[in-house]
């Protein structure tokens, strides 16, 4: 597996990104815009599930209205993230914050497209809705924080 990460870091794509000094901050900026789009729109639904705002709409209505944008944000995240990873794959894959982030990200994505989706439905119980909202906020907050810690731990 280590060979793969060394190969990736030395690939033509990673070399291009590493040789052009503006590439990394631009890709990272797109990553930020992508997670604002996804995590931000998911948070809007979560706050509604918790009854904290946007009360003139049902959570199901907000989720349906924003779903396209949430998915667009997730797509941007999942393209720009691996691009950044490729620039220093070996170092990232042994970084504890990165490993932790990947695990939580998988759980957050799974949760979002299964239990969260179910809790958003109008016929879901209020308790399930609140739990799903809180869980979703917690998971995505952890993803953001562990992302920040990659540069530090």
């Amino acid at each position: 597996m280590g060979d793969f990460f060394h190969w990736l870091t030395n690939s033509a794509l990673a070399n291009a990104l590493n040789n052009y000094e503006w590439a990394f901050p631009i890709i990272q900026s797109l990553h930020f815009i992508g997670f604002a789009l996804s995590i931000g729109t998911i948070a809007i639904v979560d706050f509604r599930l918790l009854g904290l705002g946007m009360r003139r709409q049902q959570a199901s209505e907000l989720a349906a209205d924003l779903n396209r944008w949430t998915c667009a944000g997730i797509a941007i995240m999942l393209i720009t993230g691996p691009l950044m990873f490729s620039t220093d794959a070996y170092a990232y894959h042994v970084n504890p914050s990165f490993q932790f982030k990947m695990v939580v990200l998988m759980i957050a994505l799974l949760f979002h497209f299964t239990l969260h989706r179910r809790a958003v439905r109008p016929d879901a119980s209020p308790v399930a809705a609140k739990l799903a909202g809180a869980m979703s906020l917690l998971l995505w907050t952890t993803v953001v924080f562990s992302g920040r810690f990659i540069a530090f731990i």
């Binding site: 901050p25 900026s29 930020f32 815009i33 604002a36 931000g40 948070a43 003139r56 209205d65 540069a151």
Partner: protein, 165 residues
């Protein structure tokens, strides 16, 4: 050219030293800053995309703009406070960073944007329910561009001293 006295003064304050040398505070403040970008950004995107007619079209404009406004304000304040703290711990580097000054110029434009469009677009969004006028669309596009610009310049602050110039 020596750095101005105020930059040196900030650098030597207890708060600056504490964030700079404290280990955990810096990434934690950075994490809150990122989270506020995500949450505030989500509200801002939803508002602006609604004004452009690209999202939440089945909801009245006034519902969307009005409901997101208080959250946007909170997110904005959190982003600014954590941003000031992040800047406070490394004022000398930022003072010498072109990206930092471009970001501050964009911030000034955010203020101009608010002054220009507040009355006409954001204060009474119910008048947009019948139809979104050009002015509201221009406000939304400029708002999205400014927001993206703040993210890009913010990211470049971390890199521009390493560029060959």
């Amino acid at each position: 050219m020596p750095d101005p006295a105020i930059v040196e003064w900030i650098y030597n304050t207890d708060l600056s030293v504490a964030i700079r040398e404290g280990g955990l505070p810096y990434p934690i403040i950075g994490g809150i800053h990122l989270l506020s970008i995500a949450w505030f950004g989500g509200m801002l995107l939803a508002t602006d995309l609604r004004l452009l007619g690209w999202a939440m079209r089945s909801r009245p404009v006034s519902d969307v703009v009005g409901q997101f406004a208080p959250w946007k304000r909170v997110g904005f304040v959190v982003a600014v406070v954590t941003g000031v703290l992040l800047a406070w711990c490394e004022p000398i580097r930022l003072y010498r960073s072109p990206s930092f000054w471009i970001k501050m110029a964009l911030f000034a434009l955010v203020g101009v944007h608010a002054l220009v469009f507040r009355n006409s677009v954001y204060r009474d969004p119910s008048k947009l329910d019948a139809g979104i006028n050009t002015q509201a669309k221009v406000a939304a596009v400029l708002s999205l561009l400014l927001w993206a610009g703040l993210i890009v310049t913010g990211r470049f602050i971390a890199f521009d001293e390493s560029f060959d110039s």
